[in-house]
């Protein structure tokens, strides 16, 4: 079957290890006061973890361009939802003194 990319078990175990290590890191960093950076770091780690899951566990790295485009579009539409909705909220009481 030409469309089957059978990854070696080692790849899956390495990705698994990376995911669990990142989980521990995110839990530990959360107990350190970094102020606003805590959320940024936590989300960066989450994006890294989800990229590993999407690329390797879900085989997107080895998938067709159409699949990759679909994934990117999904993220794009989510960003429109989050970003454009927030433009409403952050532009309220624009001139009010906080």
């Amino acid at each position: 079957m030409s469309s089957q990319h059978i990854l070696p078990r080692r790849t899956y175990f390495l990705v698994f290890l990376a995911l669990e290590i990142l989980t521990v890191v995110t839990a530990v960093v959360a107990s350190i006061d970094l102020g606003a950076a805590n959320t940024v770091v936590a989300l960066l780690i989450a994006v890294t973890k989800s990229s590993l899951v999407v690329l390797f566990f879900m085989h997107v790295k080895y998938s067709s361009k159409m699949t990759k485009l679909t994934v990117i579009l999904g993220v794009f539409w989510l960003m429109i939802l989050l970003g454009m909705t927030m433009t409403d909220y952050v532009s309220r009481m624009w001139s009010a003194v906080r």
Binding site: F16, T26, V53, G74, L81
Partner: protein
């Protein structure tokens, strides 16, 4: 496998004899598999938007009530939440290995890895159940029994904490529902796999349900830091 002869002689006639799973509207098994995959991914994109609505609400209310959200987060069970994250990632590994076993025609490994995934998924739901039970006892469930008395903060802020809890229950509840559906799908896979339905030539259902299961893991990868880790250093 020569496609040209089949195409010239009448497209589906030749190939169908070679591959009983090939539906008549597809030229070849690769195209059929790619279509299944595309369909599942489009569904997952709709799921991203489905959960996305809740993440949107979270984004709005956390930005407007940061202190209340930090309080709400601190009331969650950090140990169980972290354990659940570890368990769910482990279940994604067993699921990925199950797909690989199906690709290699390893029936026994496939069945056991699917069962392992189900056990880990059930463990996740078990821990979640324990957490929910704690919430009920602590008066954190929005509604008539919600306790607004949080020590050290004004009543106005304590009232805002319920927004966090509403989102917590909606998001983890929706996620848990997806996991229950996933367990059901996996049970179906186990039964089919045990009957020998999946081979190196045909294992699409295993891979597609695998994609669904990994998606459920993805949602949790974002839920965990956003719900459990807000200003954790205070505790």
């Amino acid at each position: 496998m020569s496609h040209n002869a089949a195409h010239h002689a009448g497209a589906d006639a030749g190939l169908a004899e070679l591959d009983p799973h090939l539906e008549m509207q597809f030229d070849d098994p690769e195209q059929q598999k790619e279509t299944s995959s595309f369909g599942m991914w489009v569904f997952l994109v709709t799921e991203v938007m489905f959960f996305g609505g809740l993440f949107m609400a979270y984004l709005v209310y956390r930005s407007q009530y940061p202190q209340a959200f930090a309080i709400g987060s601190s009331q969650l069970n950090f140990k169980l939440g972290t354990a659940n994250t570890v368990v769910l990632i482990f279940s994604s590994l067993t699921m990925a290995l199950a797909v690989r076993a199906a690709q290699l025609g390893q029936k026994k490994a496939l069945v056991w890895l699917l069962i392992a995934t189900m056990i880990l998924g059930a463990a996740f739901l078990g821990f979640k159940g324990i957490e929910y039970h704690e919430h009920i006892l602590d008066g954190h469930v929005p509604g008539a029994n919600f306790r607004y008395d949080t020590p050290g903060v004004s009543f106005a802020v304590a009232r805002e904490v319920v927004l966090f809890n509403i989102l917590y229950f909606c998001m983890t509840g929706l996620h848990a529902f997806h996991m229950i559906v996933g367990l059901g799908l996996m049970l179906w896979l186990v039964i089919k796999a045990q009957k020998g339905a999946f081979t190196p030539a045909y294992n699409t259902p295993v891979e597609m349900i695998g994609l669904y299961w990994h998606f459920v893991d993805l949602v949790w990868i974002y839920l965990y830091p956003l719900l459990y880790l807000i200003d954790r250093y205070h505790k």
